[in-house]
């Protein structure tokens, strides 16, 4: 019996030690688990702006990426006002969750599930504006639900969508499309199908769009 208690103490000590070690060490980001890829449904990303706009800018973005958040909150409002609202540009958002981010794919699914209820861009804005979730490393599920509630989503439908990973195939198809186009990091931009190498600043986009629209005229 004494040997049995020694075994128990050893198991408890080893297990407790592992848990303590895990809680002390800074968690390094790891790839999200593989997602079952459904057949692509032909979806090519949510867009902002007129279908008749002469220029299309496709953005490959990752909701957990800090540069994407900075772009979405600082540059994008100006781009929306100056280029999208004026009918010059149609903006296409493509998911490119990086494998080094634990929750970016989950965030992409949340945005897609909001999109199912017609509120993709509202969720997009919320995910980037409330970006503290990406810095804490904590499970953001509760926060995402709060954001979903905040923008007026039907939570039962949202939960059902998230639980079934309904749009995992779309997200994966978007990643594969980006990889095929040579996307290496986020955010990456393609202007009328050509890779954009400039700065991710609204002024630079405006200058490029102005030069391109002059050519169109």
């Amino acid at each position: 019996m004494k040997g049995f208690y020694l075994l128990l103490v050893a198991v408890a000590a080893i297990g407790g030690g592992v848990l303590w070690y895990g809680s002390q060490r800074q968690a390094a980001p790891v790839p999200s688990g593989p997602v079952a890829v459904a057949a692509a449904d032909g979806f090519r990303g949510y867009t902002l702006g007129s279908d008749a706009a002469p220029i299309e800018i496709a953005e490959y973005s990752d909701f957990e990426c800090p540069f994407c958040a900075s772009f979405a909150t600082v540059q994008m409002p100006v781009i929306r006002t100056q280029l999208i609202a004026t009918g010059k540009v149609r903006w296409r958002f493509r998911d490119f969750p990086l494998p080094t981010h634990a929750y970016s794919r989950y965030a992409a699914l949340a945005a897609q599930c909001a999109g199912e209820q017609g509120k993709f861009w509202e969720m997009h804005d919320q995910l980037f504006t409330n970006h503290q979730w990406a810095q804490t490393g904590k499970n953001p599920r509760g926060l995402f639900r709060d954001l979903a509630r905040g923008i007026g989503l039907d939570l039962d439908k949202y939960d059902a969508c998230m639980d079934s990973q309904r749009y995992a195939g779309r997200v994966q198809a978007s990643v594969q499309e980006g990889e095929a186009r040579g996307v290496k990091g986020t955010p990456s931009f393609y202007v009328n199908g050509r890779p954009y190498q400039g700065r991710s600043a609204s002024d630079d986009f405006k200058a490029l769009v102005d030069s391109l629209t002059k050519k169109h005229k």
């Binding site: 128990l8 408890a12 809680s23 999200s32 639980d163």
Partner: protein
């Protein structure tokens, strides 16, 4: 006695697994070591909470109760006590029922498997079988 020893050992491991999942859930651990499983996804789903509390916390409480009962049952004065066997079987049955429910959710609703949840399910199933065997033995030896 060997059954109760096995129950104690199993529930200790189960307690460690549940504690690991609970620490992740409350944000103490930044990530789950999951290999090729879908731990993050399962743990992020709405089914990872029950009545507003993390399911893993129920696991911690359940395994801790079973461990305490098992340890008590190993003491000489309780070794032949049928009440310990009844309580062990009752707690293990509740745990086994919850395990069946959660495994069904993984398989048929989420279509995703969390390795740690599978480990806990195996531990709880073995604990339940052992507790039933212990109860049957206690019945058989009761005068």
């Amino acid at each position: 006695m060997i059954r109760r020893q096995a129950i104690v050992l199993l529930t200790l491991v189960g307690l460690l697994v549940a504690t690991y999942l609970w620490l992740y859930k409350i944000g103490v651990l930044g990530e789950l070591k999951c290999g090729t499983g879908s731990c993050e996804y399962v743990q992020s789903s709405r089914y990872a909470e029950l009545f507003g509390l993390p399911v893993a916390l129920y696991g911690v409480a359940g395994y801790a109760a079973l461990l305490a009962l098992g340890l008590a049952g190993l003491q000489p004065r309780f070794a032949a006590d049928r009440r310990v066997s009844v309580l062990l079987a009752a707690f293990a049955t509740v745990g086994f029922g919850l395990t069946l429910y959660l495994t069904a959710i993984e398989l048929f609703v989420l279509h995703a498997i969390c390795r740690w949840c599978v480990a806990s399910a195996v531990i709880m199933t073995a604990t339940w079988l052992l507790s039933i065997a212990d109860l049957r033995r206690a019945r058989a030896t009761t005068p």
